[in-house]
């Protein structure tokens, strides 16, 4: 069984069936890109996996853990949070916390979690030690995305590309098993997409498993181990970048690639 297994995910909004039974799998350390025309359900799929939408049907596992089971209707907030933490999600619009500086954006959730894990009885020293570990980790991640000197800046003082790099570092703070991106460069000026794509590419090193929804075909081709082409709520075609871009089989994929000038 693969590291991530997603089985028969279905989702409707009212009468429109947006996901009509999605199955796919992904090995640890691999990068999956999801492409497809607007409205094909890519965002919805990521949101379902991250429990921002509830699936009507479907089942998913990461390793031995169940991370999605639509047949269980009532999840406690705690169970939901545990499942969500298996994944990280980078949003198209960054969603940084404006009142906190870059460093605090990274550490906030980790600190709250550490405090909770230690419980009320924890000594000040224990907590301080955990916080300093978290701070070190944030520093390391800021260096990784090339923003060490922006640690004290506020989101309103950063460019879009810098914001998105902070968002990526923030998502990595909690060490998700799988990091998801929803069109991470769509909200950016063209000259800023490069720096973000470079960071994402640098994460591809075997230790980060990633799912990337993108309209950047060249990037998808370069970075992915596997590509899924979605159309009208189903996976129309899947394969390696060579298969998808070099030898598309379905008419829909052919015309999609033609429209994307690829």
């Amino acid at each position: 069984m693969a590291f991530l297994e997603v089985k028969n995910v279905k989702k409707s909004f009212g009468n429109t069936e947006v996901l009509k039974g999605i199955d796919f799998s992904l090995e640890r350390g691999q990068v999956l890109s999801i492409i497809g025309s607007s409205g094909s359900g890519k965002t919805t799929l990521l949101r379902v996996i991250n429990h921002l939408e509830t699936a009507d049907e479907g089942f998913a596992t990461v390793g031995k853990d169940i991370v999605l089971d639509a047949s269980v209707k009532k999840l406690s907030e705690k169970e939901l949070r545990e499942m969500r933490l298996k994944f990280g999600l980078v949003f198209q619009s960054f969603n940084l916390f404006p009142q906190y500086n870059v460093k605090k954006n990274l550490t906030l959730a980790a600190e709250l979690r550490a405090k909770e894990a230690l419980g009320k009885k924890a000594s000040k020293e224990e907590l301080a030690e955990r916080y300093s570990e978290i701070s070190d980790k944030a520093d390391a991640l800021l260096e990784k995305v090339g923003l060490t000197e922006k640690a004290e800046s506020y989101p309103c003082e950063l460019s879009g590309g810098q914001c998105q790099r902070v968002a990526i570092a923030r998502a990595l703070m909690l060490e998700p098993e799988i990091l998801c991106f929803d069109e991470p460069t769509s909200a950016l000026d063209p000259e800023l997409t490069g720096e973000v794509l470079k960071v994402i590419k640098s994460l591809k090193s075997g230790e980060h498993t990633m799912i990337i929804v993108t309209h950047e075909m060249e990037f998808a081709k370069n970075v992915s181990d596997k590509i899924i082409f979605m159309s009208e709520g189903v996976i129309e075609e899947e394969g390696t970048p060579e298969e998808i871009f070099g030898n598309p089989k379905s008419e829909k994929l052919k015309s999609f690639l033609f429209k994307e000038n690829f």
Binding site: R84, G88, F97, L112, C156, M173, L174
Partner: protein
Amino acid sequence: MTFLQITTQLLEGFAYTLTIFGATLACALPLGLLIAFGTMSKFKPLNLVSRGFVWVIRGTPLMLQIIFFSMPNLWLTPLINFVFRSNVDLPIRGTEATLIMVCVAFSINYACYFSEIFRGGIQSIPYGQYEAGMVLGMTKRQIFFRVVLLQVVKRIVPPMSNEIITLVKDTALASTVIMVDLFTVAKMIVNKTVDIWPLFYAGLFYLVFNGLLTVILSRVEKRLDYFKV
């Protein structure tokens, strides 16, 4: 009456005015937040009741509400006696008791106005902020208190400042039912001395106090200028 006597009397009245102002602010802020949650609730009965309540309070004159609350013997006493099948006489009379009832009226009235400001502020926060908190494994509570609240505060400080300054002046309406606040005292002095200037002198108290509040509130606004929402 000497200038000093007039000043002393006005100051005494001003103390009552400040009491009404302070008590109203202290009660109306938390109550307003509760009502705001009520009007945003997905639980239909609570939602309808809260909205209905806000509609009634905002749709009727504050003066009417003050008079209504100042006469609890005409409705609260009979109501309690009816509910508990008792026959007691509630000791709600005299200046102190009426003052408390006036504060209740002001608190309820202002809580409804505040609740609309809170609701607007909370609903103006993009849903992405909640979602970002969720995918980072934060609880609903943590998201509200650690992520959303300060952004809401930043957005509501300007409209709140307006309401707070209006409240200072609205306290003069209490003079319809109590005879101790700054405005009443000023009126009585004018009647007694047959001189108009004590009225303006009283106005100066309101003016200076509002000036002070304006300075404080714009400081708060400045303090929150370091980020954008």
